[in-house]
């Protein structure tokens, strides 16, 4: 009996001690949640930042852009990762943001798609994507490509509130709720699903359509080239999907339209107060930009970086 009492007391003491310790380290913890699109880069940044500032701790989780915004506005995290345009409603709620980098959403199909070759030659225009994803006026592949085969297009979309869907819908002139199709949870799930279905069509963040290590498209995934000038075929300058580098170049130079290219943000409920958070944001906009290209993203313009840095300095 006595021994149990001693153990219990020791436990209580340990809990108290740890809670005291966590109070001081709380100031040094940066908690982040949100968009899958920028998650890998933020993890990379956190790793590098920790090498320089070993006392800072990070707590990073995914969950989609919507979760990032909701968590940040509710004060559950210090920073939300966000990957679509910030709406007026969100600005009215006092959201504070800085842009970090640029990436894009690309239309994806399975590499087993029977019409792959003609699709790659022809591409699809914005209005054709709209007809498939929003208006439902194109429902079979032969409406696009001709032929007698009556195969239906199986359209997939994201079920969770996310930046990829928001950006893709914005490109097609709608909101996420206007996108039709079977809803799959999460970006990895969506690329997995569309890769398996030869008649499927979906959209993914670039980092979930390409293999970062090899620079090639993920196994099983192909990208539908966008017919930007709408002349019915994919011209040489519209054909930049072969490697990750070439599509990043097209996004950076503005050949790939925006949207579906978009800026990625950190958002917070008003300007962050914590010293550690502010230092980390400043680092990502200066030194951190050096890791952007290697991680598979397109850097933002220097003029924009300067304006965001100025935003950090404002009291």
């Amino acid at each position: 009996m006595k021994r149990i009492k001693i153990i219990a007391l020791a436990l209580i003491a340990a809990i108290l001690a740890s809670s005291c310790a966590s109070k001081s380290s709380k100031e040094n913890t940066v908690s982040i949640s949100g968009a899958f699109a920028i998650y890998p880069l933020v993890v990379k940044w956190a790793e590098e930042y920790k090498k320089e500032h070993p006392t800072v701790r990070f707590n990073i989780s995914g969950g989609g852009a919507g979760k990032g915004m909701a968590d940040a506005l509710a004060g559950a995290v210090d920073l939300g990762m966000f990957s679509r345009e910030i709406t007026q409603v969100e600005k009215d709620q006092g959201v504070w943001w800085v842009g970090l980098t640029v990436d894009a959403v690309v239309p994806t199909i399975s590499s087993k798609n029977p019409f792959l070759d003609s699709l790659k030659k022809r591409g699809l225009t914005r209005s054709e994507f709209k007809a498939i994803f929003i208006d439902k006026t194109i429902v079979t592949w032969n409406q696009l490509l001709g032929g007698a085969n009556n195969d239906e297009i199986s359209v997939y979309t994201r079920s969770d509130a996310c930046g990829a869907a928001g950006t893709w819908a914005l490109y097609l002139g709608g909101k996420q709720e206007n996108l039709n199709g079977i809803g799959i949870f999460g970006d990895p799930g969506l690329s997995e699903t569309v890769g398996k279905d030869p008649l499927g069509i979906a959209y993914n963040n670039t980092i979930f359509a390409y293999n970062l290590k090899t620079g090639r498209k993920l196994e099983g995934i192909e990208i539908i080239p966008i017919d930007i000038n709408e002349n019915g075929k994919i011209d040489l300058e519209e054909n930049f999907y072969d490697s990750f580098n070439s599509i990043l170049q097209a996004i950076g130079s503005g050949v790939y339209p925006a949207p579906p290219a978009r800026e990625l943000y950190f958002v917070a409920n008003g300007k962050p107060q914590k010293e550690a958070v502010l230092n980390f944001i400043e680092w990502t906009l200066t030194k951190g930009q050096g890791y952007v290209k290697a991680a598979g993203y397109v850097p933002i313009d220097q003029s924009k970086i300067d304006s965001y840095l100025a935003k950090l300095k404002v009291q």
């Binding site: 969950g63 989609g64 852009a65 919507g66 979760k67 990032g68 915004m69 909701a70 506005l73 509710a74 709406t87 409603v89 969100e90 709620q93 239906e152 199986s154 997939y156 079920s159 969770d160 509130a161 996310c162 909101k175 996420q176 709720e177 206007n178 039709n180 199709g181 079977i182 809803g183 799959i184 949870f185 799930g189 699903t193 398996k196 279905d197 499927g200």
Partner: protein, 296 residues
């Protein structure tokens, strides 16, 4: 000394009353909280509009909950149809026919199944059930399907509920006195007749309540169903079409809550609906239990 004992007695009674009142008040507090949060939506739309409309476009202030309610009911119904016979028959076999060692072996198996996190069932559903439906089941019926269907949701849900229902049924059947069973056997009943007329009859109320709790659990299950059910806002009553249950609506769109006006009230209203429906399910099953008990 006596005084001290009386004080301790009084204090411990108070503690018990406090804890029981927390439990009694909890559903009431949750219900009121949800209602308060959902009331802005009820001010701009009537209840009939919300429950009867099938259009879901929150950005245009169109909140129709009918597809979600029906989706939930449909997935739950399918899972119920799949789980009930399996549970009932295996519970009867385990308690009445199987050797004791087999029962000892099955207990940990059921506990493991019950303890698995729902996301594991979801992933398993995506990897196994969804392709199985799209490659084998749907072609067998001459339908083309991606596999992300109401049927997939129902199957995954049924598998998740089976350990719960089974555990409760085993408890119910174990409480039936051996004397009753022996009496019927000694009158010349076969083993199956004994099960039919004594075990099931006597355990009736318990069986119903086991199923009731199973349904309530199935109705509210979120993660696993959301991963396989397809999440499409539509009203179609084919097994091979996608559906969109209420809990999935809340979980998927929690992130947009602060980005679209009225959306937080709409999601709270969805939660309130879920709460009320589960309350109704429980009341209905309570009534059945009461009926079977008074018939005995």
């Amino acid at each position: 000394m006596l005084y001290r004992r009386k004080v301790i007695d009084r204090v411990s009674t108070i503690w018990m009353i406090v804890s029981i009142s927390i439990i009694v008040l909890l559903p009431v507090i949750i219900g009121i909280g949800l209602y308060i949060k959902a009331s802005p939506l009820l001010e701009i739309k009537s209840l009939g509009q919300l429950l009867g409309s099938t259009i879901w476009l929150p950005n245009e202030k169109e909140f129709g909950f009918l597809p979600f309610i029906l989706g939930s009911l449909y997935v739950t119904l399918i899972s119920f149809c799949l789980a009930v016979p399996v549970c009932l028959l295996s519970a009867i076999y385990l308690t009445q026919f199987a050797p004791k060692q087999f029962m000892n072996f099955m207990h940990p198996v059921i506990d493991i199944l019950a303890g698995l996190p729902s996301v594991i069932y979801g992933v398993w559903g995506v990897i196994v059930i969804v392709p199985f439906i799209s490659n084998h089941v749907a072609p067998f019926f001459g339908v083309k399907s991606s596999g992300y269907t109401i049927l997939a949701g129902g199957i995954v849900l049924a598998i998740m509920c089976i350990p719960y229902i089974l555990n409760m049924l085993i408890e119910v059947f174990n409480t039936i006195p051996t004397g009753l069973k022996e009496a019927s056997l000694s009158l010349g009943a076969t083993f199956w007749e004994m099960v039919k007329h004594v075990v099931i009859r006597r355990g009736g109320a318990g069986i119903i309540s086991a199923f009731g709790l199973g349904i309530a659990k199935a109705f509210g299950e979120t993660m696993a169903v959301m991963m396989v059910v397809g999440n499409m806002v539509q009203i179609k009553f084919s097994l091979f079409d996608a559906g969109y249950p209420l809990p999935a609506l809340i979980a998927n769109n929690y992130g947009e809550m602060l980005s679209i006006p009225m959306y937080d009230s709409a999601l709270m209203f969805a939660a309130l609906l879920l709460f009320v429906i589960i309350l109704l399910i429980n009341l209905i099953f309570r009534y059945f239990i009461y009926k079977t008990k008074s018939n005995e």
